[in-house]
Symmetry: C2
Subunit: 403 residues, 2 copies
């Protein structure tokens, strides 16, 4: 049995960055940019007024003071979107609106609040500094500047920046298509009444929402019964129609756990079939041509844990991302928790902050079937392999889940 | 001019929780549950084997020891999904698969790894404890138990839990419809070449992605020119077709900033039109009948900041959420930053962690037009109203952006 770090490393070593596709920028939120974006314009493209006020040539105000209040004639008004090429003479100003281009003959904007206006004149009582309240041409970006680097994660701010630079579409890394196969003769559809020995298929729903949440596409094959031939056929089909196949169930040591056998039959390369973690020990990872195969356990909490720890980082890496999980931070235990030497325990807890310190509170059974437990959890505490039972006050790494 | 806290309070006081709608659980990720969910079944619905192993009656193993290795006959195999009602006699076990129901006559499961199997018999060399490796009927939930509380935020784990309880649809709080109006005669479409005095319409794109990111719906009216009649007509129409109207631009003191005048004309109740913050001072909030109106500034960084600080919390509260922003934490300044007494500064920075402490690094101009700055930022530092310029080593609250 390999340990957690080894398992993650094996997965990462088998990942190739996805190819690029061109997408409308509004479809790019949370995608990774696949090209450098250079500015085709100066930003702003002209000297822009940062204020509603009066555009003036600063040297014409040199003699102005409280003792020498001076009048200037308002020659014209420049609205945002207009462009003025008229000459500005001594004793003249333009009224100018926020966002409007400052005409060449002016080099400063006086705020509207700082002048007295009468008839068509303004009166000012202090010198004006050059460049005041002007956002200079190219101050943000100049033609040819690198505006956004290949590999950047696109957020609403980047979408806005791309729009302002005239990019309607950009190249981003494709999201993988993930196929789902849910195994188990005990499973019935969620709108079925439960008869003897049956439980409802919840893992399909959990997995679909986990996959969609990180922006990948799902093709679900639904419940497949524990029949080796049928299962082999579905796995073959799913490998054709997707980049990643996830199964849930069928990876234990039971007589009807066919996943590994089938992977062997079809010539997949099984990289590991057990990892020293809890929950989620019986997790299989294989590759088949360039496709990835994750055989997750059948217990609901194990499914979530193995998805979050192995599948999610894989999908994110394929999509070009570098941060695979939420950031880890120090967490102080507010309760005792059980743990065994030799495995990494992911303990689902309620993280509460007090005086800038996070405390991990017990919320219920860590039994791997317990969705009720995780529904009360907002985070995990990670108990490393070399540690046994842990006690109140001890400090371990933790992180938030599902963010 | 009111301060930030007052502004937020005024907005919150004018918010009503949205009504409920029934949605398929797969459409409920990140929505807020509008009803209590009670379990209609026991979970698990039977005593379930947690292992692949052998179901046995523990009292039949009382005399078993290393000195008294005992054989038991394998009576039958119980697969997951099957149900066995046969009687188990002394000297008999059932082979049982993970997830299969433990028959009534057995009360324990021995792991497959702990026995020696020969022909149709197993040999065991230690006593078996009652209830070992059995997940008991109703251990997770009993019929009638409250499984999920009204007001819970639905995550993939809750979607799985709802599925396992047979809920295909649940009632959640509706997402508001948000109408967008982008004003400014200086704006051209993003695929246009820039001519004199013009800039591209980026705010529409930023706002659409900000709104969709938090799960609300957008109806965009696009660019509307600075013509009071046309703008009034669009605002009237947008108020009819949405729950919240957002405009960008037109809320300054310029001659063509019509928003406030129009709000007055149509009888909207203007609650404030300026908040002591930077960026984003000229921000208007009004109500009209039960609709909310946010008049945001036109500068790209101001748009993002006022959306994040005022509009996003409002939308989240309408949808039934309690956490309106990312959590704040202590941040140590790694650079000096400018700030003015009397306003709250939101400084866009790069937050980097060293030895469990976050440091805020300067990334560029905080000028309100700068999307380039925010594209380098992962967080903000909040400089309160009573503080002037701040210096390296000082500690303020900060938080991550866009998470």
């Amino acid at each position: 049995m390999i340990n957690f770090k080894e398992a993650q490393k094996i997965i990462f070593n088998n990942i190739e960055l996805s190819s690029l596709e061109e997408r409308d920028i509004l479809q790019c939120n949370d995608k990774v940019l696949g090209e450098n974006i250079y500015s085709k314009d100066n930003l702003p493209p002209f000297n822009k007024s940062a204020m509603d006020g009066y555009a003036i040539k600063s040297e014409y105000t040199e003699s102005v003071s409280n003792e020498n209040i001076t009048e200037f004639k308002i020659k014209n008004t420049i609205k945002a979107g207009e462009y003025c090429t008229e000459i500005l003479e001594h004793g003249e100003v333009y009224k100018i609106m926020t966002g409007a281009p400052v005409p060449n003959y002016a080099d400063s904007v006086i705020e509207i609040e700082k002048v007295i206006v009468e008839n068509n004149k303004i009166y000012i009582n202090e010198k004006v500094k050059k460049d005041k309240n002007i956002i200079k041409l190219g101050e943000e970006l100049r033609i040819g500047d690198l505006a956004l680097k290949k590999g950047s994660v696109i957020r609403p701010s980047e979408i806005g920046l791309l729009a302002s630079l005239g990019y309607k579409k950009v190249k981003v890394h494709k999201s993988p298509v993930v196929a789902l196969i849910i195994t188990g003769d005990e499973l019935v559809d969620i709108d079925s009444k439960l008869s003897n020995g049956k439980i409802r298929n919840c893992n399909e729903y959990t997995l679909i929402s986990l996959i969609e949440k990180i922006g990948a596409k799902v093709v679900s094959f639904g419940i497949v019964c524990d029949d080796k031939n049928i299962l082999r056929e579905k796995i073959n089909l799913s490998l054709k129609e997707s980049d990643i196949v996830i199964t849930s169930g069928g990876v234990s040591v039971g007589d009807y756990d066919f996943i590994e056998e089938i992977l062997g039959d079809i010539g997949a390369d099984i990289k590991f079939n057990k990892v020293a973690i809890k929950p989620g020990k019986p997790v299989t990872f294989a590759t088949y041509k360039k496709k990835l195969f994750f055989g997750l356990p059948g217990n609901p909490l194990s499914v979530i844990n193995t998805f979050e720890e192995f599948v999610k980082p894989a999908i994110k890496k394929i999509m070009g991302k570098n941060n695979f999980s939420n950031e880890e931070f120090n967490v102080v235990l507010a309760d005792n928790f059980k743990s065994k030497v030799g495995r990494r325990d992911f303990v689902y807890v309620d993280l509460k902050k007090e005086n800038e310190v996070y405390y991990a509170h017990k919320i219920g059974s860590q039994s791997s079937n317990q969705l009720v437990t995780i529904s009360k959890a907002n985070g995990i505490v990670i108990i490393p392999e070399d540690v046994e039972d842990v006690y109140v006050g001890e400090i371990f790494n933790g992180r938030f889940i599902f963010k």
